[in-house]
C-alpha cells in the first residue's frame, strides 16, 4: 500500500511562476455583539488556498475556525457580522457580493460539507428531491435528468444501492451514509473549492477514516481545492497539504503540514501536539483558558498560558517570522530571534 502523500498537488503549476491562488482571504474580521460588548471572534485573519491543495484549519473550540469559513460563505448571522476584510475567489470578492450573487457561487463554485449531515438535509423531502433542488437552482438543464445524475453521484461516494437512498428520507440513513449524501450533494455542481467543517466529527472512528479517504479521493481526482476545518491534528497530519493554526481568532502559525507538525515554531502549536496522549511520553497540558474576546488583550493572546512568555509578549501582536518555504509564525520569540526549543523534548 503506497503511503498517501501530502505535499505536491496533482497539477501543481511549474516552480518559479507564482500562480494566482484560488482563494485569498485578507484582513478578515468578524465580530459578535454580546451583552458585555463586541467580541473579536475572527481577528485580522489572512491566508490563501492554492489550486489543487487541501488546506487544514485547526484549533480548539472558540478559536474562530468555523466562523472564518462561515464568514467566507456569507453564513454569519446576527449578532455576528463581518466587519472588515476581503475574500477574493477567482478574482471576485465574496464579502462584497450581494446575497443573490453569493448564493450563485455557493453550491456551484464552492461546495460546503457541514459537521452534522442531518442538519443539512431536509427531513421531509426525499433525498432524490433534494438532489433535484440543488441541480434546479443552478443548472436547469441537468435538473430534468436529476434522478439519473443523483444515482451516479451517490454511487460515486460509495453508496451501494443508491436507489434505496434516493427514494428514502434522511432519518432512514446512518450517520456515515448521510454524510456521503452531503458529500455527493456538495460536489454535484463540480465546485472548484470544497469547504468542509469538521466533516467526520460525529462519526464512528472506522467510518471517519472511510469518509476522509473518500473526500480526499474526490478532491484529488477532480483537481479541486479543499479547506478542511478540524480540531484533530491526526486528520491534519495525514489528509492536508498545508495547515493554518488558529488561537483566539488569530492565525498563530501556518505552513506545510510536514513543517508545522514536525517542527512547530509557535508555543501554542507545540502545546497542542504535547497534549495528545502518546505512549512513552509524559502528557503536558496547558494551564488557564482562552482570553476574553470582548476585552481583547493588547499583546499576544496566548501569552498568559505560554511558558516562554517574556516582556514583549504583553505589549503588542508580534511581527511574522517566515522561512523561505513559507512556514510562518507570529511569536515574539521569533521576532526577537530566540528559539522555542526542541520539539518533544
Amino acid at each position: 500500500m503506497t503511503r498517501p502523500v501530502a505535499g505536491t498537488a496533482p497539477h501543481a503549476p511549474p516552480r518559479g511562476a507564482a500562480p494566482k491562488p484560488l482563494l485569498e482571504v485578507r484582513g478578515l474580521r468578524t465580530e459578535f455583539g454580546t451583552p458585555l460588548g463586541v467580541a473579536q471572534v475572527v481577528n485580522d485573519v489572512s491566508f490563501t488556498v492554492r489550486r489543487g491543495e487541501i488546506l487544514g484549519i485547526v484549533g480548539e473550540s472558540g478559536c474562530g475556525k468555523s466562523v472564518t469559513i462561515r464568514s467566507i460563505l456569507g453564513l454569519v448571522r446576527q449578532p455576528g457580522k463581518v466587519a472588515a476584510g476581503e475574500a477574493v475567489f477567482e478574482g471576485r470578492d465574496l464579502l462584497g457580493m450581494k446575497p443573490s450573487e453569493l448564493r450563485d457561487v455557493r453550491g456551484k463554485d464552492i461546495g460546503f460539507i457541514a459537521q452534522n449531515p442531518f442538519s443539512s438535509l431536509n427531513p421531509v423531502l426525499r433525498i432524490s428531491k433534494q438532489l433535484h433542488n440543488v441541480l434546479r437552482s443552478h443548472d436547469r438543464e441537468r435538473a430534468a435528468n436529476s434522478y439519473e445524475i443523483g444515482r451516479a453521484a451517490l454511487a460515486s461516494v460509495g453508496i451501494a444501492g443508491p436507489e434505496r437512498v434516493l427514494d428514502g428520507y434522511a432519518h432512514q440513513l446512518s450517520g456515515g451514509t448521510a454524510q456521503r449524501v452531503i458529500i455527493a450533494m456538495s460536489m454535484l455542481l463540480d465546485p472548484a473549492l470544497v469547504i468542509a467543517d469538521e466533516p467526520t466529527t460525529g462519526l464512528d472512528l472506522t467510518v471517519q477514516r472511510q469518509i476522509l479517504d473518500l473526500v480526499r479521493g474526490l478532491v484529488r481526482e477532480h483537481e479541486r481545492s479543499m479547506m478542511l476545518v478540524t480540531h484533530d491534528l491526526g486528520v491534519v497530519a495525514h489528509y492536508c497539504d498545508r495547515v493554518v493554526v488558529m488561537y483566539a481568532g488569530k492565525i498563530v502559525e501556518q505552513g506545510a503540514v510536514q513543517e508545522v507538525l514536525r517542527a512547530p515554531k509557535h508555543p501554542y502549536t507545540r502545546a497542542l501536539l504535547d497534549a495528545i496522549p502518546r505512549q512513552g511520553r509524559p502528557l503536558v497540558h496547558l494551564k488557564g483558558r482562552l482570553p476574553d474576546l470582548v476585552n481583547y488583550p493588547s499583546g499576544c493572546p496566548f501569552a498568559p498560558r505560554c511558558s516562554h512568555a517574556f516582556e514583549p509578549c504583553t505589549t503588542g501582536w508580534p511581527d511574522a517570522t517566515s522561512s523561505p518555504d513559507g512556514h510562518t509564525y507570529w511569536c515574539h520569540l521569533g521576532a526577537e530571534d530566540k528559539e522555542v526549543g526542541n520539539v518533544s523534548a
Binding site: P4, A6, A237, Q258, P277
Partner: protein, 330 residues
C-alpha cells in the same frame, strides 16, 4: 477477588411492538482494585449500556454483576444504596450532568446527603477538601454555578462529586470526549493522579484510542454489544488479532505526518443491532469472512489473558500484516 465482576451479562431493550435491540450480549469482565479496564467501541456497541449495568443503573436481562463479591441483583434497595457510595460515575457531557441551578459546593455535597451522616460543617469541610483535590481550590469557586465554569472545570466538578463518597470504583463514561485536546490532557492527568492517591479502580468507557492506550491496564473491544477481543492493553495494542480491533486501531491517526497510515479495508457502516446476533457480529464488514463465521464464534484465549472471538485467525493475521505493513504499530 475482583472488585467488580460481570458474568454473562446481556441486555435487551424493547423498542415498539415486537422489536428489540440487543445492546449487550453475554459479556464477562472484571476490574481489580486500583486498575483501569477500558471498554472501547463505536457508538451503538453497547459500551455505555455495559457501564450502566455495572452500576446497576440498568438491570441486565440476564447474567450477574458482583461488586466486592456480592451479587447486586440479590440486594434489597437499602443494601444497594449503601454499596453505591463505593461505586460512582462520571459522565460524558459535564455541563448536562450538573444541575445548572445548584452551586458547585452543593452539587459536590449532594452525594454526602444521601450516603453519609456528616454534620453540615463536616460536609462543607469535606466538599472543600475534595474540590481542592481536583484542582478547584477556594471557597469562592464552591459558590459559583456550572454555567460560569469552563468545560474542563465542569468536568472537575463531576469528578469531585464522584469521589466525595470515597468510592473504590469509578465508571468513566467518555469523560473527555467532549473536551478540547488541551483540556482533555488536564483531565487525564487528574484521573491518573487520583487513581494513585485514592487507589481507585476505573471502568473507562471510550472510543478514543489514544486515551485508552495511555490510561488502561486491560482493554475490552466491543462491537454490536459483543466482546470481540480482550486482554492486557500492551498485548492488544501491539498485536490486535480480531479484524475489527485491527480496523479500530488502524483508524487512529497520529499527529505525525511521517508516520505511515495503516490501510483500512473495511466496507460499509455498522448495522443496527435489532436482530439477535448469530455468528460473528462483524462478518458483514469483515474482509476475511469465511463460511464458519455464520456459526458459533466464541471468545477463546490465544495465550494468557488475551482472548479473541474469531474463527479465521489465520486470515485475520494475514490481514494484520497487510494493514500494518510498514507502519510502526500506531
Amino acid at each position: 477477588m475482583s472488585l467488580l465482576e460481570l458474568v454473562g451479562v446481556s441486555k435487551e431493550f424493547e423498542i415498539g411492538k415486537a422489536r428489540r435491540v440487543y445492546a449487550v450480549n453475554n459479556v464477562d469482565l472484571h476490574v481489580d482494585r486500583g486498575r483501569t479496564v477500558a471498554v472501547i467501541g463505536e457508538s451503538g456497541s453497547g459500551k455505555s449500556t455495559l457501564g450502566r449495568i455495572a452500576l446497576r443503573l440498568l438491570e441486565p436481562t440476564s447474567g450477574s454483576v458482583l461488586f466486592e463479591g456480592r451479587d447486586l441483583g440479590t440486594l434489597d434497595r437499602v443494601e444497594l444504596r449503601r454499596l453505591r457510595s463505593r461505586m460512582q460515575v462520571v459522565f460524558q457531557e459535564p455541563f448536562e450532568s450538573l444541575n445548572p441551578r445548584m452551586a458547585v459546593g452543593d452539587i459536590v455535597a449532594e452525594p454526602l446527603l444521601v450516603h453519609s451522616t456528616l454534620t453540615k460543617a463536616a460536609r462543607k469541610a469535606k466538599v472543600l477538601e475534595v474540590l481542592e483535590h481536583v484542582g478547584l481550590g477556594g471557597d469562592e469557586l464552591a459558590r459559583r454555578y456550572p454555567g460560569e465554569l469552563s468545560g474542563g472545570q465542569q468536568q472537575r466538578v463531576g469528578i469531585a462529586r464522584a469521589i466525595v463518597t470515597e468510592p473504590s470504583l469509578l465508571v468513566l463514561d467518555e469523560p473527555t470526549s467532549s473536551l478540547d485536546v488541551s483540556i482533555r490532557a488536564q483531565i487525564l492527568t487528574l484521573l491518573q493522579r487520583l487513581q494513585g492517591e485514592l487507589d481507585l479502580a476505573y471502568l473507562f468507557i471510550s472510543h478514543d484510542i489514544q486515551t485508552v492506550r495511555y490510561l488502561s491496564n486491560a482493554i475490552i473491544v466491543m462491537y454490536q454489544g459483543t466482546v470481540v477481543e480482550s486482554g492486557p492493553s500492551e498485548t492488544v495494542f501491539a498485536s490486535p488479532r480480531h479484524p475489527y480491533s485491527q480496523a479500530l486501531l488502524a483508524s487512529a491517526l497520529t499527529p505525525d505526518p511521517a508516520d505511515q497510515v495503516p490501510s483500512l479495508q473495511l466496507q460499509g457502516d455498522p448495522p443496527t443491532p435489532t436482530t439477535r446476533p448469530q455468528g460473528c457480529v462483524f462478518r458483514g464488514r469483515c474482509p476475511v469472512r469465511i463460511a464458519e463465521c455464520d456459526g458459533d464464534v466464541p471468545l477463546v484465549s490465544v495465550g494468557g489473558q488475551h482472548s479473541v472471538a474469531c474463527v479465521n485467525l489465520a486470515g485475520a493475521d494475514r490481514l494484520a500484516r497487510d494493514t500494518f505493513a510498514g507502519s510502526a504499530t500506531s
